[in-house]
């Protein structure tokens, strides 16, 4: 095959074994993950919707939000965006059966996730020491609920990626590992998308 004359999109399509046509062509695992993410949209959507409605009703969230540390929040956003990159690179490496690339990128994703949690705990400590706890007011109830729930989801993602990292080190067969990295990646990117909206909502209000 002459690679110089073949266009890159054709190359990707030719190697992509998932036929887009037909419901039965969607791998059950992928369908299940998307179904789960759809339910999570309802969970976070409910919280975010309530936040917006309370803000519209009372309009005093800006004063409380001024006490959040937007610089740490911005740093965490950069961390999570970069972790999304390392996660998709892990999937790309797994698809190409690149063992070293898969392990390195999964490790980087786990590491960045832990950095995010570390920074978040520093934020929580600062806010709690200033007297801002969930019972302080409506904004802080939402703040701790939304960021806490997001943090729990992140812990789940870190756990899953750690398990996959161990599986990659133990050289699990690619037929299994590749799909699992893909599904874990879908979940991880979803957690990132949630933060993309949470950050401006809470910190930049």
């Amino acid at each position: 095959m002459d690679l110089t004359t073949q266009s890159q999109p054709e190359l990707t399509t030719a190697l992509d074994s998932d036929d887009k046509d037909g419901l039965r062509q969607i791998p059950p695992g992928r369908l299940a993950v998307w179904w789960f993410l759809a339910s999570e949209v309802m969970v976070f959507g409910g919280l975010i919707g309530c936040f917006l409605l309370f803000e519209a009703a009372h309009g005093d969230f800006a004063e409380a939000a001024a006490h959040t540390n937007w610089k740490l929040g911005a740093f965490n956003t950069l961390i999570l965006l970069t972790s999304s990159l390392t996660m998709i690179l892990a999937h790309s490496a797994a698809k190409a059966h690149d063992s070293l690339g898969t392990r390195l990128c999964l490790f980087a994703t786990v590491f960045l996730g832990l950095v995010f949690l570390g920074v978040k705990s520093i934020e929580y400590r600062g806010e709690i020491s200033e007297g801002f706890v969930p019972s302080t007011g409506t904004f802080w109830s939402f703040y701790f609920a939304m960021t806490g729930l997001h943090g729990l989801h992140l812990i789940g993602g870190i756990t899953a990626n750690t398990v996959l990292l161990i599986a990659a080190v133990r050289k699990q067969p690619w037929t299994i590992l590749e799909k699992r990295v893909e599904y874990a990646g879908l979940y991880w990117h979803f957690v990132d998308v949630i933060w993309i909206f949470l950050f401006p909502l809470i910190y930049l209000t």
Partner: protein, 102 residues
């Protein structure tokens, strides 16, 4: 690793790095908007608009929604519509009871 797979991986990775660069740029623009002295409504519109663009980039290119079956699209869109419907259905009640302070 087969050379075709390696080339395919390189092409994919270039795209992913390009998307990541765009995400960082959009994030930077959002922070610049935050630093400007715009009205609250304008700043909120711009910042959330940028957040929506970032979300679409992640969904299309990192979550591969660009080449997924229409059922997967529905799984993403329908819950969002439900969420919007629930939120909007309560707006008249808030306006009636509290007045709109947003």
């Amino acid at each position: 690793m087969d050379s075709i797979e390696r080339d395919d991986q390189r092409f994919r990775n270039k795209l992913y790095f390009a998307i990541w660069t765009w995400l960082l740029l959009l994030f930077g623009v959002g922070m610049a908007v935050f630093a400007l002295n715009l009205t609250r409504k304008m700043a909120a519109t711009l910042i959330f608009g940028l957040a929506a663009i970032k979300a679409v980039l992640v969904l299309r290119y990192y979550m591969h929604l660009k080449r997924e079956h229409v059922l997967i699209y529905l799984m993403v869109v329908v819950p969002l519509l439900f969420f919007a419907a629930f939120a909007l259905s309560l707006v008249p009640d808030i306006v009636w009871r509290h007045g709109f302070r947003g």
